[in-house]
């Protein structure tokens, strides 16, 4: 079979456009899913896609101004003939297009040291240790009147990016996660554990089941509470849920044009303003240990937060919030020119740290006179972009804390809160630890590290009857 590098070179060599970028992504994936203490679905898949971006320069003429036009086509392609078809389609699209508003010189460079390496892969064998232990966990859970529902997923994607300006970049990205919901046999109590991994060597099905058993035991006493504002500990997974939403709303152009919580009243962005407590640091870094991600930009199309002209731009640590001030927003080179700010593209990981944050989630709960300890959040959606008001629900374990001890399980709630406001109102923070968003981690954004936060007046807008 033809190699990914050969597919890239074939695309670049056969294109008649003025410039061309080819991105090949080849992936393998293996997953197991279970419910009611039995496996339900599973899969072992391979995929390979080729993206060809053609750039055609058009001279200014009587009919209008000149500029660079682009066409982007992505397809499943495993042969030279299929790649040629993509090149033709992309070039035709570029010749047919309007001049791109984000036009810029393509990134130049040479071949990375690992360019010639083959794709990294995974297979169903990644669960060699986990799978038998999970089977045993099913037996144990059934014997102890517990029901398990869950999913493990491991994928490895290798990206090859080449350009007619000389770039040859490669990145291999392992992504894995696990999640398991446990319920009592009468379905009246529910608990969840989950997290991210890069290779499943660190995931133990037995420990996962034991943690669920302990959490279900916390629910032996049931307490019904009304809606209201509660002193609440958000564990790192819930903080990750909310910070990802804030990150995704941090596009510079739309902020500059007055449409988000990061817009300054009267025009421009709030960059340079203190928007949260001064101890707060929010940043991304492609080299962050345990959360490493692609160190260069890949963009198949242009939009508010991406530009095909930026393909190959190096990524580095970027402070989004520094000492409580908004330090940067998501910028392409085009939006950076519009806003007069540095180029700070999207990075595929996110870290929240609070100066002085110490201990863990249980330490934060231990300091509460009376309040709530959450497990995770769910179905989070934006209600108002100007305040970044989000709504959503608690899920799979809300625990009542009295005198620093967990004394029972509480009903679920719908909340209405803004993550920016929460970073202004929290009273305590734990140390930052690897975390995993229940809402977004599975399919979109699994590389996060966040602390637990204690919020003195978290808005539980109404009660949810869901168990």
């Amino acid at each position: 079979m033809i190699t990914p590098q050969e597919l890239v070179e074939h695309a670049l060599a056969t294109s008649s456009a003025d410039d061309t970028i080819a991105i090949v992504r080849t992936g393998s994936r293996a997953n197991l899913r279970w419910a009611n203490n039995t496996l339900t679905t599973n899969g072992s898949t391979r995929d390979l896609t080729v993206t060809v971006i053609a750039f055609v320069r058009r001279a200014a003429g009587p009919g209008g101004s000149g500029g660079t036009c682009t066409g982007s086509v992505t397809g499943s392609a495993t042969t030279r003939e299929q790649v040629s078809a993509l090149v033709e389609a992309a070039t035709a699209a570029a010749r047919d297009a309007e001049a791109a508003e984000d036009a810029a010189d393509l990134v130049a460079g040479g071949a990375a040291a690992d360019w010639d390496e083959p794709p990294a892969t995974t297979s169903i064998g990644v669960y060699e240790t986990f799978a038998p232990a999970l089977g045993e966990a099913f037996q144990r859970a059934a014997g102890e009147q517990r029901i398990l529902y869950g999913f493990v997923d491991h994928l490895v994607t290798t990206t090859y990016l080449g350009s007619t300006t000389g770039l040859r970049l490669r990145h291999a990205q392992p992504t894995g996660h696990y999640g398991c919901t446990g319920k009592t046999a009468d379905l009246s109590t529910s608990a969840w554990v989950g997290g991210a991994t890069r290779d499943f060597a660190d995931i133990d099905a037995t420990a996962m089941d034991a943690e669920l058993a302990q959490r279900l035991a916390w629910g032996a006493r049931r307490v019904d509470l009304l809606a209201g504002r509660y002193d609440t500990v958000l564990p790192p997974t819930a903080v990750a849920d909310l910070m990802i939403d804030a990150y995704w709303e941090a596009g510079a152009r739309v902020a500059h044009e007055g449409e988000t919580v990061f817009s300054r009243t009267g025009g421009g962005t709030r960059i340079g303003e203190r928007i949260v407590r001064p101890e707060v640091q929010l940043w991304s870094d492609p080299s962050r240990s345990g959360l490493a991600c692609a160190p260069f930009v890949t963009a198949a199309s242009s939009g508010n937060m991406s530009s095909v002209f930026d393909n190959g731009l190096p990524l580095a640590r970027t402070d989004w919030i520094r000492d409580g001030e908004l330090a940067a927003l998501l910028q392409t080179r085009h939006s950076a020119a519009l806003t007069g700010q540095p180029v700070t593209p999207y990075v595929d990981n996110l870290v929240l740290e609070v100066n002085g944050g110490a201990g863990d989630v249980r330490d934060l709960a231990a300091g509460m006179e009376r309040g709530l300890l959450l497990t995770c959040l769910w179905y989070i959606r934006e209600v108002d972009p100007q305040t970044l008001l989000l709504t959503g629900l608690t899920r799979d374990g809300v625990y009542l804390v009295e005198g620093g001890e967990i004394v029972g399980a509480v009903n679920n709630f719908r909340f209405n809160e803004s993550p920016v406001e929460l970073l202004n109102r929290f009273t305590h923070a734990s140390a930052t630890v690897p975390s995993f968003s229940r809402e977004w981690g599975d399919d979109y954004f699994s590389r996060t590290a966040t602390p637990a936060l204690r919020i003195p007046d978290f808005n539980m807008s109404s009660v949810s009857q869901a168990l």
Partner: protein, 510 residues
């Protein structure tokens, strides 16, 4: 009417299917199915009369699913050779062998008649992929330029998504289906601000299983029936936005609501569509999308809503996004009742779920299996779930006329519901105050919050057929790994009494 694209039918899927199924049978599979798909997507986006992005994708691949040793096995590949088809079949069996050690309930499928080499194509006139991209971009650019001419609009966006979906399905029982669907989602939005407040107003046009004629309103030079009034809406939106920016903030409380189909379709999707998926009711989505309050013991007994409520599951309605001839398990599609006279009477089923409850639908699946990609396993997905109109229900104005003090809700915006489908909160594009049976200007900062059965039992009346609109979405998410599905929901304008209204600014603590 259209025919299946020859560029698909000339692909080697029959040869690959024969090789894969034969290998799976030889390895001892008791069931095997082969699915070959080509999915074409195109997305265009425009901001302030400038094309921001245009991208095309074409995903082609195949999957083999087996039952072996009582366990599922699934594998997929993209290399279109018979050797690869055989390898993928072998891998599916290998996966089933690993899965067998963790499978405590052997897999069974509900029976389905053999459908021998049948073809089906959705109802559309002009495949949008045959229209030059520049022509489509020009429409979007013109839309935003029109919006920007009004002083109330500071920025305008438009987008267009199009999908051409081809599938071939074959199984060891002998079913062979070849199908083609087209769907399209055009949209535009206007943004503006006043006195420090920012807001937006979006088109109410729903995504549909139609072709490019949905955008032009014409086919072969002739106006189409049921065409969307794009020009009328483009002219109206800036003034509506200006009115919204100047509108008073709502006083939180309890109001009677008249809900337009452009908003109610999403409430139906979340509170009825997902709640009546049998896989959820039986716990098979518990770790992700969640379960359902509409558990199986409530079948025939749950007063889901008022007697005015009649809901169907439907995979055959014309132009429905979930409409198809045969599902991804080779089941011929159908229409059936889910709620009749307010009582829960049915569920959505695929073959494994139907086998678990053979007393439903005469022991047969009602055709709700779907996979959004050749790399994904088919799961139970939503049919077009729709609320029926009343033959003599009257107009929207008639329903508004029955309200002394209330709110008329138009267009969807924010949505959220809990994992058992009890507690929900929705916003909208526009909220109008109703006083003494008349509209009395817009309101701002409105959200409605309720519990599913309270809300549907507060349904006093549904409108007539002239108010019924087929709404929908491209992006319904479910399953692990995550899949998206397009689905439509039809409904009439409807009147609900005594619904809780929140002020979202107060909710934000401002």
């Amino acid at each position: 009417m259209t025919a299946i694209d020859p560029s698909f039918t000339t692909l080697p899927f029959r040869r690959l299917a024969d090789a894969a199924l034969e290998r799976a049978r030889d390895l001892g599979a008791t069931h095997a199915d082969f699915r070959f798909e080509r999915l074409r997507h195109q997305q265009l986006s425009v901001r302030d009369a400038v094309l921001q992005g245009a991208s095309d994708s074409d995903e082609t691949g195949f999957a083999v699913r087996v039952i072996h040793g009582g366990a599922w096995g699934f594998a997929a590949g993209v290399l279109l050779t018979t050797d690869e088809a055989v390898r993928v079949a072998e891998e599916a069996v290998q996966v089933a062998r690993v899965a067998a050690t963790m499978t405590t309930s052997p897999v069974e499928l509900a029976p389905e008649p053999v459908h021998d080499d049948v073809a089906w194509c959705s109802a559309y006139h002009l495949d949008p992929f045959t229209v030059p991209t520049a022509s489509k971009a020009a429409v979007l650019i013109d839309w935003t330029a029109q919006l920007l001419r009004n002083d109330a609009v500071s920025h305008a966006t438009a987008s267009l998504q199009q999908v051409l979906e081809n599938k071939f399905y074959a199984d060891l029982a002998g079913t062979r289906t070849t199908q083609q669907r087209v769907r399209i989602q055009p949209s535009f939005a206007a943004m503006g601000s006043r006195d420090g407040a920012f807001d937006s107003m979006r088109s109410l046009a729903p995504p549909v299983a139609r072709g490019w004629e949905y955008v032009t309103g014409r086919h072969e030079g002739r106006p189409l029936d049921e065409a969307w009034d794009w020009e009328g809406e483009l002219a109206e939106v800036p003034e509506l936005l200006a009115e919204k920016l100047a509108a008073p903030s709502v006083v939180a409380g309890t109001y009677d609501l008249v809900v337009d189909p452009s908003n109610l379709w999403l409430t139906i999707h979340e509170s009825i569509g997902h709640a009546t998926e049998l896989d959820r009711a039986l716990g098979y989505e518990a770790n992700y999308a969640g379960t359902s309050f509409a558990t199986y013991d409530k079948l025939g007994r749950l007063q889901y809503g008022s007697p005015a409520m009649h809901v169907t599951g439907d995979r055959v309605v014309r132009h429905g996004l979930a409409t198809i001839g045969y599902d991804d398990e080779g089941v011929a599609t159908q229409q059936w009742d889910i709620v009749r006279d307010g009582v829960l009477v049915g569920y959505q089923l695929d073959r494994p779920m139907a086998a678990l409850k053979p007393e439903l639908n005469d022991g047969r699946s009602n055709g709700c299996a779907f996979a959004d990609s050749p790399a994904h396993v088919p799961i139970q997905r939503m049919a077009n779930v729709s609320l029926m109109a009343s033959p003599d229900g009257g107009s929207t104005a008639d329903l508004i006329g029955r309200v002394e003090d209330g709110i008329y809700v138009v267009g969807d915006k924010s949505w959220s519901i809990d994992m058992q489908r009890f507690n929900f909160q929705f916003t909208g594009q526009r909220f109008y105050r109703i006083r003494d049976g008349q509209l009395d200007g817009q309101l701002r900062d409105v959200a409605y919050q309720a519990t599913t059965t309270e809300f549907w039992n507060s349904l006093e009346a549904v409108g007539g057929p002239e108010t019924w609109v087929l709404g929908g979405a491209f992006n319904c998410g479910k399953a692990q790994p995550g899949q998206v599905a397009a689905v439509s929901h039809g409904c009439p304008t409807s009147l609900f009494r005594g619904v809780r209204i929140l002020n979202t600014t107060e909710e934000a603590g401002l």
